[in-house]
């Protein structure tokens, strides 16, 4: 019996229980994530981080949440009132919806019912997640527009442009998974990985997905929509109190969602680490939840690590990277992968497959070498304009003798004195 048919037989109350589980899971994840992020970043910066409220400061986020809720709720006079209120609601509701198709565990028994911890499964589950993400962008855009001031508008436009562009790269990286697993349903993709994780088999896709998931969630080093030095708070500059809290919640739930999707599509989902497969039947199958959460936490740690390590990119560099590097690379990779897939389906001889692979590698090396050479040539060809030497000593420019400048200046001064003497 497949997971899908198993889920299909769930009674109504079980579906409600699962929905509640997802909601609680996301909210607790957010609280823990905020605390964890602050602690980890603090450690990376030789600080302590929040350590006062509760054991290890664990309740800090809860205290902050209560404080946030008690703040004054402002709506700017220039704001478009209805849209201003709708925007955070769109953001906060859509971010939870992606979890409906994420398989948290394998087959388990819940209140005497054999089921799997997955709310529902569609033949197009992964596309459904992309669709939900594209509705989530509306929250950001509308928040930026409805605030009625410049910085939020710029921030909103920036982040939606960013999310849309990186969604393309993300979608393309998922195509490889579809080709390889022959399905777009999350449970089948996880089932297809019981032997080899797609992170290994489809390594280039995995790398592209990980980069674009950071871009898609507007996180450092791609957090240009909230660049404090340029845009104050970005799209949520004008928001306060619970409306701001909703955006905050949405950001962290989105991080958990993309991490969960990465786990599901590339890291074997709820499957145990290689060699520990026997643990999957522990606790009547519930131990798989531990593996799933563990992998999600690992991805979250990666997010925090990136934030603690990398400086923010400039906007044009970021967009260039998305459109000119990630998307073409994934297109070429899909082409190669599809060819290999067809070859394996047609049972082409090993020699041909081997020859094709070597050919692709050689072609890539050739093209990149030619590109590098052209860059070097272009650099050599670009000559700097001649300018008069400055009239006071400065450090030498590259390719210029430091003493020459000073010598020139001395002779000039001498000339000037001589001229003055002559005139006098």
């Amino acid at each position: 019996m497949t997971t899908t048919t198993l889920i299909g037989e769930d009674p109504g109350w079980l579906i409600l229980v699962k929905g509640l589980f997802i909601f609680v899971f996301c909210v607790v994840c957010t609280l823990m994530a905020v605390w964890g992020e602050r602690r980890i970043v603090a450690r990376m910066q030789m600080r302590l981080g929040p350590n006062r409220v509760g054991k290890f400061g664990l309740l800090q986020s809860l205290a902050d949440g209560v404080k946030l809720a008690l703040k004054e709720d402002l709506i700017p006079a220039a704001a478009d009132k209805i849209v201003f209120i709708i925007a955070p609601i769109i953001s906060a509701t859509t971010c939870f919806m992606a979890f409906a198709v994420i398989p948290f565990t394998g087959k388990v028994t819940l209140f005497g019912h054999k089921t799997a911890m997955q709310l529902t499964d569609l033949p197009v589950s992964v596309l459904y997640i992309l669709a939900i993400a594209s509705i989530g962008v509306y929250g950001i855009v509308l928040a930026g527009w409805s605030s009625g001031s410049t910085y939020p508008l710029l921030g909103g436009l920036r982040s939606s442009a960013q999310v849309i562009s990186y969604e393309v790269a993300m979608g393309l990286s998922l195509v490889a998974v579809f080709i390889y697993s022959g399905s777009m349903s999350t449970s089948e993709i996880v089932a297809a990985q019981h032997q080899w994780w797609f992170a290994v088999v489809l390594f280039p896709s995995f790398v592209i997905y990980v980069i674009s998931m950071v871009g898609e969630t507007n996180r450092a080093p791609f957090d240009l929509a909230e660049a404090e030095g340029e845009l104050v708070g970005g799209f949520h500059t004008e928001y306060s109190s619970l409306k701001f809290a909703l955006f905050f919640l949405a950001e962290y739930v989105n991080i958990v969602a993309v991490s969960a999707l990465a786990t599901t599509l590339f890291m074997g989902g709820y499957h145990a680490l290689p060699g520990l497969t026997f643990t999957e039947s522990w606790l009547g199958g519930w131990f798989t939840l531990f593996w799933f959460v563990g992998k999600v936490v690992a991805f979250f740690f990666l997010f925090v690590w990136l934030r603690g390590t990398l400086p923010r990119l400039r906007y044009d560099q970021f967009m260039k990277f998305g459109w000119k590097v990630l998307i073409p690379t994934s297109l070429i990779w899909i082409l190669v992968l599809a060819t290999l897939r067809v070859m394996s389906q047609r049972a082409v001889s090993r020699l041909v497959v081997f020859g094709f692979s070597i050919g692709v590698v050689l072609l890539v090396v050739l093209v990149t070498t030619l590109y590098d050479r052209s860059v070097v040539k272009a650099k050599a060809a670009a000559t700097l304009p001649e300018v008069p030497a400055p009239n006071f000593p400065v450090p030498a420019l590259p390719g210029q003798n430091a003493l020459q400048g000073i010598a020139l200046e001395i002779t000039e001064t001498a000339d000037a004195i001589e001229l003055e003497n002559h005139n006098g």
Binding site: T4, V124, V137, L157, S160
Partner: protein, 264 residues
């Protein structure tokens, strides 16, 4: 077999009644929103209502067992096309509302006739195709799974039409790019070029950037020029835009009066 069971799982428990309930809730909402597109004043609001109509359409598609079509409708129309619309609306003018001045004289009546005619044509065509002839063959079409069935049709029977349409779309996109493209007169100054240029000037006075605005200690604002060591205002410290607009406050008002006394 696997896909068949998938399909089965989806249709389990669905009868005509929930679909009817869903229809009678969503259809009036969609119709209201569609009317709203025409009636609301702000362009962004109509774009939003349009997005809502598209989402409800997608839900209808999904209820009609066209799962893939429904999801793609959201990804493509709500996610991409409507989003681009919103982008343009926001960039062009945040609060611009429609003007009712006729640019082309006397086009209103013919265009109303044409619109009504087109609408009538579509309604009569759809009516003739659907009314009185119940839909058949859905189960047969979805027998290998919805996505697989669609893919098979798209890449066998309709591959030519598919390719022609995509070629047409690419041509249109290219055409738009060519029309919108303008030849650059000079190479754009990037941050790097500007930095190099600053250091190549005969004076290094501005190498570290222009002075910041504001008269420190007494007053600090972007429209007040900073003071040079001799007490005179530094005009380069105020942004070019403000200078051109003449929105500069003189800094003399903030000068210390008894500066000479201290010097003595």
């Amino acid at each position: 077999m696997l896909h068949h069971s998938l399909h089965l799982a989806l249709t389990v428990g669905r009868t005509a009644t929930p679909e009817a309930v869903q229809f009678w809730i969503l259809a009036p909402l969609a119709t209201l929103a569609a009317l709203g597109i025409l009636l609301v004043k702000k362009a962004v609001h109509s774009a939003l209502l349009m997005a809502w109509v598209m989402v409800t359409l997608a839900i209808f598609y999904i209820a009609q067992d066209a799962l893939f079509l429904g999801i793609v409708q959201i990804v493509v129309y709500t996610g991409a096309v409507m989003m681009l619309f919103l982008f343009i609306l926001m960039l062009v003018g945040v609060d611009s509302s429609e003007s009712f001045v006729e640019n082309v004289k006397g086009q209103r009546i013919p265009s109303i006739i044409a619109a009504v005619g087109l609408g009538g044509l579509i309604v009569s065509l759809l009516g003739r195709a659907t009314v009185g002839s119940p839909a058949v063959g859905l189960a047969a079409a979805n027998v290998d799974g919805n996505v697989q069935g669609l893919a098979k049709l798209l890449f066998t029977q309709y591959v030519w039409a598919f390719e022609v349409v995509s070629a047409l779309l690419i041509t249109a996109a290219l055409g738009a790019m060519v029309l919108a493209h303008s030849q650059k007169v000079r190479s754009p100054f990037a941050q790097r070029d500007l930095a190099i240029a600053r250091f190549r000037k005969s004076s290094l006075g501005e190498a570290a950037g222009l002075p910041a605005s504001g008269v420190y200690a007494r007053h600090n604002a972007v429209d007040v020029p900073a003071l040079l060591p001799d007490g005179s205002p530094a005009p380069t410290s105020v942004s070019q835009t403000l200078r051109a607009r003449g929105d500069i406050i003189t800094s003399s008002g903030f000068a210390l009066e008894h500066i000479e006394e201290q010097e003595d």
